[in-house]
Symmetry: C5
Subunit: 352 residues, 5 copies
Amino acid sequence: MKKSKRKNIGLIPGTPVYQGTKENGTLELEIFNYSIDSFSETKANNIKEISNLLNDDCTTWININGLSNIEAIKGLGAQFEFHPLLIEDIVNTLQRPKIDEYDNYALCVLKMLHFDKNNKLVIEHVSFVLGKNYMLTFQEAEGDVFNPIRERLRTSRGLVRKMGADYLLYALIDIIVDNYFIMTDDLSSKIETLEDDIFNASKKNDDLVFEIQNLKREILRIRKAVYPLREVVSSLNKMDGSLVKEKTNLYLSDLHDHVIQVSENVDIYREMIWGLMDIHQTTLSNKMNEIMKVLTIIATIFIPLTFIAGIYGMNFENIPELKYKYAYFMLWGFMIFIFVGMLYYFKRKKWL
Amino acid sequence: MKKSKRKNIGLIPGTPVYQGTKENGTLELEIFNYSIDSFSETKANNIKEISNLLNDDCTTWININGLSNIEAIKGLGAQFEFHPLLIEDIVNTLQRPKIDEYDNYALCVLKMLHFDKNNKLVIEHVSFVLGKNYMLTFQEAEGDVFNPIRERLRTSRGLVRKMGADYLLYALIDIIVDNYFIMTDDLSSKIETLEDDIFNASKKNDDLVFEIQNLKREILRIRKAVYPLREVVSSLNKMDGSLVKEKTNLYLSDLHDHVIQVSENVDIYREMIWGLMDIHQTTLSNKMNEIMKVLTIIATIFIPLTFIAGIYGMNFENIPELKYKYAYFMLWGFMIFIFVGMLYYFKRKKWL
Amino acid sequence: MKKSKRKNIGLIPGTPVYQGTKENGTLELEIFNYSIDSFSETKANNIKEISNLLNDDCTTWININGLSNIEAIKGLGAQFEFHPLLIEDIVNTLQRPKIDEYDNYALCVLKMLHFDKNNKLVIEHVSFVLGKNYMLTFQEAEGDVFNPIRERLRTSRGLVRKMGADYLLYALIDIIVDNYFIMTDDLSSKIETLEDDIFNASKKNDDLVFEIQNLKREILRIRKAVYPLREVVSSLNKMDGSLVKEKTNLYLSDLHDHVIQVSENVDIYREMIWGLMDIHQTTLSNKMNEIMKVLTIIATIFIPLTFIAGIYGMNFENIPELKYKYAYFMLWGFMIFIFVGMLYYFKRKKWL
Amino acid sequence: MKKSKRKNIGLIPGTPVYQGTKENGTLELEIFNYSIDSFSETKANNIKEISNLLNDDCTTWININGLSNIEAIKGLGAQFEFHPLLIEDIVNTLQRPKIDEYDNYALCVLKMLHFDKNNKLVIEHVSFVLGKNYMLTFQEAEGDVFNPIRERLRTSRGLVRKMGADYLLYALIDIIVDNYFIMTDDLSSKIETLEDDIFNASKKNDDLVFEIQNLKREILRIRKAVYPLREVVSSLNKMDGSLVKEKTNLYLSDLHDHVIQVSENVDIYREMIWGLMDIHQTTLSNKMNEIMKVLTIIATIFIPLTFIAGIYGMNFENIPELKYKYAYFMLWGFMIFIFVGMLYYFKRKKWL
Amino acid sequence: MKKSKRKNIGLIPGTPVYQGTKENGTLELEIFNYSIDSFSETKANNIKEISNLLNDDCTTWININGLSNIEAIKGLGAQFEFHPLLIEDIVNTLQRPKIDEYDNYALCVLKMLHFDKNNKLVIEHVSFVLGKNYMLTFQEAEGDVFNPIRERLRTSRGLVRKMGADYLLYALIDIIVDNYFIMTDDLSSKIETLEDDIFNASKKNDDLVFEIQNLKREILRIRKAVYPLREVVSSLNKMDGSLVKEKTNLYLSDLHDHVIQVSENVDIYREMIWGLMDIHQTTLSNKMNEIMKVLTIIATIFIPLTFIAGIYGMNFENIPELKYKYAYFMLWGFMIFIFVGMLYYFKRKKWL
């Protein structure tokens, strides 16, 4: 039987399997406890007792980095009494964006798109578990786009300390979606660069086709991350009031709007990318025309002239012209006349 | 991390950031106060006290030019007690067209398409805030398509002074949509010009492809501005009666109809533009055929003749023909016969 | 600012502007007054008093030819107390097909497709205003497809005299849709003619591309006229009973069916037309292959032979073959052998 | 005015016009009277009195062959008190598949696809009128796919004698849909044959393009027959209980499933057919490459060699090489070296 | 009349006909009887009495291999009192995926995709009949993807022994869908291999086109198996509580999610495959350009040089240059100058 890259084929449903490549095995926790007046930030490697952390008076955000330590995540889930399917979705990095409502918590799975230090696009699996007074975020590795939110929590700027865990969820998704715009802008400039490369023939054909194919793959991957988000945010907005308060809905509508805007951009760039191959094909056809014009002009001028030269290279005993004194010079005149006439003809045909 | 053209990535939601390029920093206000019987028009650079302006007996239209002075706009919003997200949407020129209903006012974001002095298409971000007895319009810069409405207000022509702020909103959107038709007509003539250019080969290949690509981009930008408008106008029409009165609905239906007509036009021109590359490709193929015919005719006629001349240019001691007296002239006859035969053959093949 | 062909940009909503080209300025009215037992037919140039015409016991059909005399149409509208937007839609020949319900009358805008005396497709703007006991039709100019209905009214054939104005509206739209079928049949034969032209290369490339483009434009124009009709007829069918009686609904369902059939035909012909460019491109490629085969066969046979002739045209003092008595004839034999071998090779490659 | 193939343009709605080509004018009736216990089968050319035939205790199936005798069909319809529009739809062979519910009968129009004796696809118009205890089927001509049903009625196999007219309708449509599968299988094999023809170049270009176009037309015609059927069967299933009994619904669901399966097949074959032109184009391009390679190899080898031969054919008095004794043989050596080198170069470029 | 591969054309509805190719005629049954505490597994070739097997206290899974023995399956169905249409669907291997609810059991038809020993894709027809306390699975032949479930039943791992027949159905479908991912991963790698083959021209054109076509067919077949599954799982989830318990719904939602993910993958690979022909076409065009460049460079350099050599091969008596002592060497110099100039020209044109 063929092998798959997937590691969870045939396993018991609810069996968590980490599908990613960042297998450092360690788990890092950032714990933020905040209310309007209070704020504390701690780091840890595991959670001893959940009751010490959660508190009805304040909101708790626990950010977990590292999904490869399945056991630690299962332990964490057990403390929160999470459903096994939820744990499976958190560590299954191939999971598409979705939202699942459970009894008194909800799971929201997204893709975080950001550029790493080498300016390469990274699509990272991020899960959010929203409870009444807490929010858990699960990421594959360190490095995310949440720093502005962390800063706002610390400095109490904006509304984030004034509102609950639902607003925090909104703020985090909002910043993820904001980063989608950076990525679509990057696509836009890549398309323009490729168009220039095609026009200027500054790259080899195979490289161009290869890059167009890569861009196709990239936009298809991005589309896969972005499209389901519309439904996710829309479901979040329609969720009943116990988890998402009405006050937050206005912000979620605004977010939904942003998500649609990203989708529209993705659609537009998709159309542009799909057209690149046509441009390339047309440019190749045009170059072929240029090449053939050169060949045709040269051949059409010199082949008849060579024929004439051949005629007077024949060894017939009786070729009267050969004996005329100025025949050679008259022939030159005739040939130059044909040469100039041909050039004029090609000029008129706009080949030159 | 890569840089984006967007300036609001990671900011607190509701933080207004001007995304455009018209950063003159000044704010110009045109204030129209009107009822059936009264009319006043003033210009200002700021608003001191909003209560002086608004009046239950008349309708107030405040047109604000300049979005780069964030503070002034925030101050204005504060006087009207607008939600921070509304202010953000007003100055975010990348915002797609949408409608947001708030408690006792509604925000409507559109794109105004007009041609500047150099006949270049300008897509300008325009926001409308509709209140019970007032309407605010926010534009990036001076210069708009609203002059006919201003004139109607001054001269009390049409219904605009007889009806409320909702009708004014309708009238302004109607004139924006009217201008969309100018722009689609312009597209239509651009397509025809390009088709002519392709047929006549009056331009270089690269220029043609470049222009086709530009037209693609333009129609995609226009589509992005026009499509969401259908939903905007439709939502406006379904809004409950406190902001939009029933009397105005008939006009909004008519407007909706116009918007659909523009969308249909955009769709048609899109199909035509997407076909241009195919025409260009076919025209290139056809030219190639023409070029190759010329080459083939010349080569097919002269290569065999040159071969014959080559034969009698050989230096074999025993070539009997060379000694015949009229051999040279007979050969000429034979060659002319082949020449004419070839021409006849090509004529029959419709190559000439 | 750019000019548009549209003449109503920026005008007060409800300002009627005639957008067409048939500006003769005169208005011709045909008035039919009929019931089961009675029938009268008169012609006029204006309507003095509407109360003289309308009568609860009979149905009145007023057919108005000529939309350029705005004032006369406004006067007519005033007598019927029509809404200004209705008048605007009647004379706006760029208006897409639609249906508007007013309090006790309804406007239905259609496109009438017929062939004029020169067999050229004419898309004419026709509006129907349906009242309780009257029906008004507005056309741009004389010449329509309604004669069969006129005849049926005169001779009392069919149901038209037995039923009300709603059935008359149905009968008129039905005959317009019937004529759509003539036009799609015409398209079908145009496509077949073009396919033949492409295969036979009986026309020049540019003419073919030009005709394909024209057909594209034509089908897009027709689609614009036909598609919205589905919704129009469907809305007509769902209209409450005061204007359209239940008895007529069965006929409207049948009409809706016809409209869908026309749409399907338009879709099919659209697909065929969009494929024409591909056929043309393929035919061009195939011709290129034919041309290149001729060139290659000629060149491949004669270039090596010419080389051999060149060899023995060299002036080396010591070329032993030159002195052999039958060398020349042996060379001929060798050349004919190569010639025949080449022909055999091309035959096997199926190039001949 | 242009002529149309349609014969009912401008006629009174409800005027039956036969649009087909099978105008033999005769009408043949097969009458089946059956219940669980009884069965009778008669043939006739007309129906004298309908009351003699119909009987509450048994189900009557009347199969009518021949639609060109309008008067006879109208007479038949009059006995059943059918609506004129129903009669019009029965004989209008251009009518698309649909279902119309009348007061106590329903009309169902389908297309029967079968192969005639010459294996040519025939699309035949079939109408079913379903009453409480009777079913009428109208066909254009003799020859149909209903024989298995006739046999089941005669031998009382299956459920058809045990259930009512609605089950008979189901059984007949089911057998029509079964035959659609034969036809899609036929399409599948036609596509494979064409693909082989394209690869093997066993046919001329024009024939291939012509066949691809014909296949396109065929699948578009089939799609037109198959697609509306989904809605027809679905409506039949949703019909209230007086005409279609609940017991039959399970069978209709199964039928609906088959119809969807046919539609899916049609969609798949459509995609394959639309791709055939691309394959053909690619195959042409590839052949062109082959042709050009031959030309280029020959020209690239022999043109330089011919040049060298030309050099030593010059008549300069002072060409030292000409006098060297072995110059001629050395030149041959040089030429063979170039020849072999070139072959090696083309081999490395994978042109040979 | 044409023959079809289908064997059930025209048969009585509910007549079971095996459409597959695995006609070994034998029937193998695996019977699993389990509850939380008990488990038994037996093999058999027929079922004597169904009452011996089923038991309200435990769940029974009967897996039947072999669909060609129609009589045995009919006998089995009779014991369970299944509807004839259900039996027909079970053995009709051409049946598309669907779900049918009967009174107290439900039929679910799927396609199982797995790779056989030769790594060839096998699409196998699998049917599930879900009753209150039993589940029947019907397969065409031995060999399936259910072994992990069998193992879980035996070892009581996971929830499968703790929950009822509905969870077993979920678990089996889940494992089928898991295997879909293996198959889409396989597609992904096939596409990449083909792209490489196209770039490297490591295969002949016809083979490439053939493989692209095969991939198209494969993805269309897979799509046909995968798409309907979305509706099947969604219907299963909406089924009322008697057959599918509420506890299982959460798992079915998760399954639905997986099915959508597979569909998305299929869509993406479909887009990539449809683009392969374009890449191939572009690569062919590019190779043509390369070939033509070589030809043009050679011809453009040597044809004029050959002409010059021809000039001085003429036999005119009076050609002054021929007598100059160093004319020959000067001519060589001139020719080398032209040669180098040409090379420089092509270098600048980026042809070299």
